[in-house]
């Protein structure tokens, strides 16, 4: 049991995301989760064993370590990744609910239902509009909030993003002030800066996706308002149909760019 299970869940949401959403998911899995599992865990693996204090006083090392590292970087990043991935579940639940409704319609033999069989319903990709738009947008908003909160918490707890080589500790039972040395400080600093940079890229991607969704929403609204003002006439109907088809084509082209297969 590992992060692979998270990949399975989020991969399902991938189908209904925008193209920026798919890029975000790729960045999340390759640059954050994979780096966390493959590299960072090894670097922080011996953090307490190799945390050495210049004293023989039993207990001083434990207490100083606990004082300087209230929560290990690795665990904080793992928590951040879990919290940041959770809003995508909202979208997954909403899609599952819509699918359930369509299946119910189909079973009742509703004439309005345009699907031929259950397989089509299962494979259908829902467009991000209506209530799904609101769910999707709020999930991005929560993602942004969680990322920002965790980055701030990290900065606040560790006084910046640098890992010092030497820490001076005078917590009881250490007699006077004691020098304590952190293991692999440079490597840890490098990884910390890397994870922070990727976190910032993810924040930027989320902001861009939010702007894209808002722009699309307002454009659609103005188009609808424009269409309803005009006189209903045959040529306009054909134009709007052509517009919708063009939109569908451009959307499906965008969404075959990158991303996991789901």
């Amino acid at each position: 049991m590992d992060w692979g299970a998270l990949h399975t869940i989020l991969g399902g949401v991938n189908k209904h995301s925008t193209s920026i959403g798919k890029i975000w998911l790729t960045v999340l899995f390759i640059f954050r989760i994979m780096i966390l599992v493959v590299a960072a865990e090894k670097v922080w693996g011996d953090e307490q064993d190799d945390f050495v204090c210049n004293t023989l006083q039993p207990g001083c090392r434990n207490v100083c370590y606990d004082h300087f590292f209230p929560i290990s970087h690795i665990r904080l990043w793992a928590l951040q990744l879990i919290f940041v991935s959770t809003p995508a579940l909202l979208v997954a639940m909403h899609v599952a609910y819509r699918r359930h409704e369509k299946k119910r319609q189909f079973r009742k033999g509703d004439q309005k239902c345009e699907f031929k069989d259950m397989e089509e319903i299962r494979k259908q990709r829902f467009r991000i509009e209506g209530s799904l738009w609101w769910t999707y947008t709020s999930s991005i908003f929560f993602r942004l909030i969680f990322e920002a909160v965790f980055m701030y918490a990290f900065y606040f707890m560790y006084d910046g993003f640098r890992m010092p080589r030497l820490m001076k500790c005078n917590a009881w039972p250490c007699p006077n002030t004691v020098d304590c040395f952190v293991s692999r400080p440079t490597e840890k600093t490098v990884f910390t800066i890397f994870m922070i940079a990727v976190s910032s890229i993810c924040i930027l991607l989320n902001v861009a996706e939010l702007c894209y969704l808002l722009t699309k929403f307002f454009l659609r609204r103005s188009r609808r308002a424009g269409n309803s003002k005009q006189q209903p006439n045959h040529e306009n109907k054909e134009e709007t149909k052509q517009n919708e088809m063009n939109e569908l084509i451009s959307d499906s082209c965008q969404n075959t760019v990158i991303g996991f297969s789901s």
């Binding site: 049991m1 590992d2 992060w3 299970a5 998270l6 865990e41 307490q48 064993d49 006083q57 039993p58 207990g59 090392r61 434990n62 207490v63 370590y65 606990d66 590292f69 209230p70 929560i71 290990s72 690795i74 665990r75 793992a78 928590l79 879990i82 991935s85 959770t86 579940l89 639940m93 599952a96 609910y97 039972p173």
Partner: protein
């Protein structure tokens, strides 16, 4: 045998759950199982090696560790996670029994074997009550065993063979406490979800029953 079994079990349960039940599965999976495996397990990995007492007397550290941690926190939570997920198996078994019966009699006995009605409703309610009960039992047990939800930095130990009272230091106490609070909070959230699902189901089916009777009387 690993946690993958529990993950598959939870995905199986998801199919026959109500909406709130699915949220419960998501909370257990994301906030308890994943946090346990990805983060919490590693904190307690070397707890015995890192437990240090201010004494050279052989055996004193072992005895003191055993006194203060009869069951390690992490093993306690693993047990809690497993116990709390098991009642959901009752529902899965009942649906499998229904499908088996249909196969045996070679005719459609139920409109939908997976729909929560009559017998399956009882099983579902029992599983909810068991889940909630087990969560509360484990929380109370934890509280009683460790004298509250705290992990101190220093504990004083005076059990033989330690001469007099000896200072013993627990490693990573702050980090352990953060995760302790997190896991207790998610436990309480799960209890709330179970209780609301219980009340929702009781309300829904009692109104259904009442309306049916009312319609019959009118006829």
């Amino acid at each position: 045998m690993s946690w993958a079994f529990l993950r598959d079990l939870l995905s199986g349960v998801n199919k026959y759950s109500t909406g709130i039940g699915r949220i419960w599965v998501a909370v257990v999976f994301m906030f308890r199982l994943l946090v346990y495996v990805a983060a919490a397990e590693n904190i307690w990995k070397h707890e015995h090696d890192e437990f240090e007492c201010n004494i050279k007397q052989p055996g004193c550290e072992n005895v003191c560790f055993d006194h203060f941690f009869p069951v390690s926190h992490i093993r306690f939570w693993a047990l809690q996670l497993i116990m709390v997920s098991i009642p959901s198996l009752l529902v899965v078994f009942h649906v499998a029994y229904r499908e088996n019966r249909e196969k045996h009699h070679k005719q459609k006995l139920y409109k939908n074997p997976g729909k929560i009605d009559d017998g399956l409703l009882c099983t579902y309610l029992i599983s909810l009550i068991l889940k909630t009960g087990l969560e509360i039992v484990f929380l109370v047990l934890f509280y009683k065993l460790y004298n509250g939800f705290k992990i101190p930095r220093l504990v004083k130990c005076d059990i033989k063979p330690c001469p007099n009272s000896v200072d013993c230091y627990i490693s990573k106490s702050t980090e352990k406490m953060i995760f302790l609070y997190f896991l207790v909070a998610t436990s309480c959230l799960c209890i709330l979800l179970n209780l609301s699902e219980l009340s929702y189901l009781i309300f829904k089916y009692s109104t259904k029953c009442y309306l049916k009777r009312h319609m019959k009387k009118q006829q």
